[in-house]
Amino acid sequence: MLSEQSSSTKLGHSDNESTGAHKHGVGPPPLTDADLLEMYRTMVLSRTLDQRIWQMNRQGRAAIVASAQGHEAAQVGAIRALDPERDRFYIYYRELTTMLALGITPLELLLGFLAKEGEPLSGARQFPLHGAIDRDRRDIVSFSNVVATQLPQAVGVALADKMRGEQRVTVAYFGDGASSMGETHEAMNFASIHRLPIIFFCENNKYAISVPISQQMNIESIATRASAYGMPGIEVNGFDPVAVYEAVGAAANLALSGQGPTLVEAVVERFLPHTSDDDDTRYRPPEDLEGIRDLDPIPATEKILRASGTLDDALDEEIKSLAQKIVNQATEDAENAPFPEPQDFYEQVYAPGSPGDQS
């Protein structure tokens, strides 16, 4: 069952075939049914939380929301192939499922969406999901909203690891829109020259806000761009968590064995408008949305789990009501939290005690 799905992984062109993932053929260990069940739990939790946040925005209780709905399978599949304690994650704003899969709690995330005191990434100085998690817990960084800036930075992070001989994978997350930025080109080129331990993980949802992929590029697959840098490129169905797991696992093995970067493109769909500030009816035909909803990875995974006997009505009900309960409790706690006061407003501009420090 599981291995069938991975047929949706396609290897892109590569000038440098000796580094191609398939040649090395070192995919990650096969997933067990229990693994997939856990991934399903995370996807259900993510969807539940995501729906709650969207609803809160619509009620004027959250300022801005970028939804991960439609991206859950890709995100959960990728993290499953990595080591949250070992690896480094340069995420972008659409990574709700990634954050949950890495162990960040719904309450912590909700504090971000409501800009409340105790928000663990930036103290609510920045947008939801932006900032960084304390390194001794998880190496997650995302302080910027500026699309593609994270890619050269992630390359620098991987370079530092390589210089020190640390065995870690850096994952740089980005969207199809980000692929058009010059910094993406510069980052990939450098990473391949120096064979850095990095995975460029593209979540291609075929839109940069309102601009469809056809107006963003004259090619069919972003993964094929890997050949421009002499690294392997893998296009994978991002609705298939197992296929993503396998692709990212193969890429991680290349990174850890000194064979350099891989571009993994997970093709997904954006179920909702770009953010809560967007109105996608201006540019997206409703039929388009209905068609893709039929492919929703969460019911699809549910079906697989049921077919393998891993999931039944009772367990599914338990998973979903637990998710609801967690999200309800987190909502209550987050709403009760205060907004941060400006007393530390001038802190962390410069190092404490250093010239310019006003704290």
């Binding site: 920045q126 302080f143 940069a208 590029m217 500030d277 400006p342 501009v349």
Partner: protein, 327 residues
């Protein structure tokens, strides 16, 4: 005359100029079917078609450079940078290149392009959707920099910018887009680039500002009027070239000056204006030139109380005015 918001005034100017002159076109991210993230270009795709309303890939260096090339080749592009905070990848093409085309070719080539840039905070934009970035451009000879505060000025100045034969960076304060309404004449009129506007006459002190906080200055001036202090408020409107004549004339009259902007203080536009005043009308000054500006933190935070701490307000400005008046 019709009452309009700033965003409507921008849209009208753009539409009328595109009707008037076939070499005017617009390009940028999401400006087509989406109508721009602030709806500045709403309806233009339907009216002018995809050849003149070009949705670009997410690539600001290309937006700057392609607009520049098209301008060098006879067109008048009006390119939108989605948020001022995202303009940095384009500065190589704008500050580095566009500003030097005329000088570097002895006028054999020119770059009549307009870059429309929504900027500024108070919109819950956090560290990367709130920036004031106008000073970097207003330092560069070869560029013109415009920053209107009202719908009337926005429409008239955008038309002037589009007709101007030099590169113009046109800063639109995001918070004014829907907040600020005003009367705008139907049809064609222009407002000259390089001319400040005395938005309120007064005799006790001169306040120089632009953009969103200009309105806070006017509010504060009204408060002070009730207290018997008569404040003159000057709207710079153009940040390069600066209309120092209007500023200096006012300070000669009032003998006290204050500059107010939302951008952080050190190295901001306020320094330039304070320096010019201190240089040119030193003998007329009864008090040091005061600068009221954003705090020295890297950018405006997201959470509401933190954002409020950053933003100037009519109250904060009124307090500074009182202090200066009492000097």
């Amino acid at each position: 005359m019709a009452e309009m918001t700033v965003i409507e005034a921008v849209r009208e100017a753009l539409r009328e100029e595109m009707v008037r002159d076939p070499v005017v076109f617009t390009m940028g991210e999401d400006i087509g079917a989406r109508g721009g993230v602030f709806l500045a270009t709403e309806g233009l795709l339907d009216q002018f078609g995809p050849e003149r309303v070009i949705d670009t890939p997410l690539a600001e260096a290309a937006i700057g450079g392609i607009a520049l090339g098209a301008a060098v080749n006879g067109m008048r592009p009006v390119a939108e940078i989605e948020f001022g905070d995202f303009i940095w990848p384009a500065v190589n093409q704008i500050i580095g290149e566009a500003a030097r085309v005329r000088y570097g070719t002895q006028g054999r080539r020119t770059a009549p392009l307009v870059l429309r840039v929504p900027y500024g905070g108070g919109v819950r934009g956090g560290l990367f959707h709130s920036q004031s970035i106008e000073v970097a451009f207003s330092h560069q000879p070869g560029l013109k920099v415009v920053a209107p505060a009202t719908p009337y000025d926005a429409k008239g100045l955008l038309k002037s910018a589009i007709r101007d034969d030099d590169p113009v960076i046109f800063f639109e304060h995001k918070r004014t887009y829907r907040l600020v309404k005003g009367d705008v004449p139907e049809g064609d009129y222009t407002i000259p680039i390089g001319k400040a506007d005395v938005k309120r006459t007064g005799s006790d002190l001169t306040v120089v500002s632009y953009g969103l906080v200009l309105h806070y200055c006017l509010e504060a001036a009204a408060t002070l009027a009730a207290e018997g202090i008569d404040v003159e408020v000057i709207d710079l409107r153009t940040l390069r070239p600066l209309d120092t004549d209007t500023v200096l004339e006012s300070v000669r009259k009032t003998s006290k000056a204050m500059v107010v902007h939302e951008d952080t203080k050190a190295g901001g536009i306020g320094g330039e204006i304070a320096a010019v005043i201190a240089e040119e009308v030193f003998e007329d000054l009864d008090a040091p030139v005061k600068r009221v500006a954003g705090p020295e933190v890297p950018a405006m935070p997201f959470s509401p109380l933190l954002e409020a701490e950053f933003m100037p307000s009519a109250e904060k400005i009124a307090a500074e005015m009182r202090e200066l008046a009492a000097y």
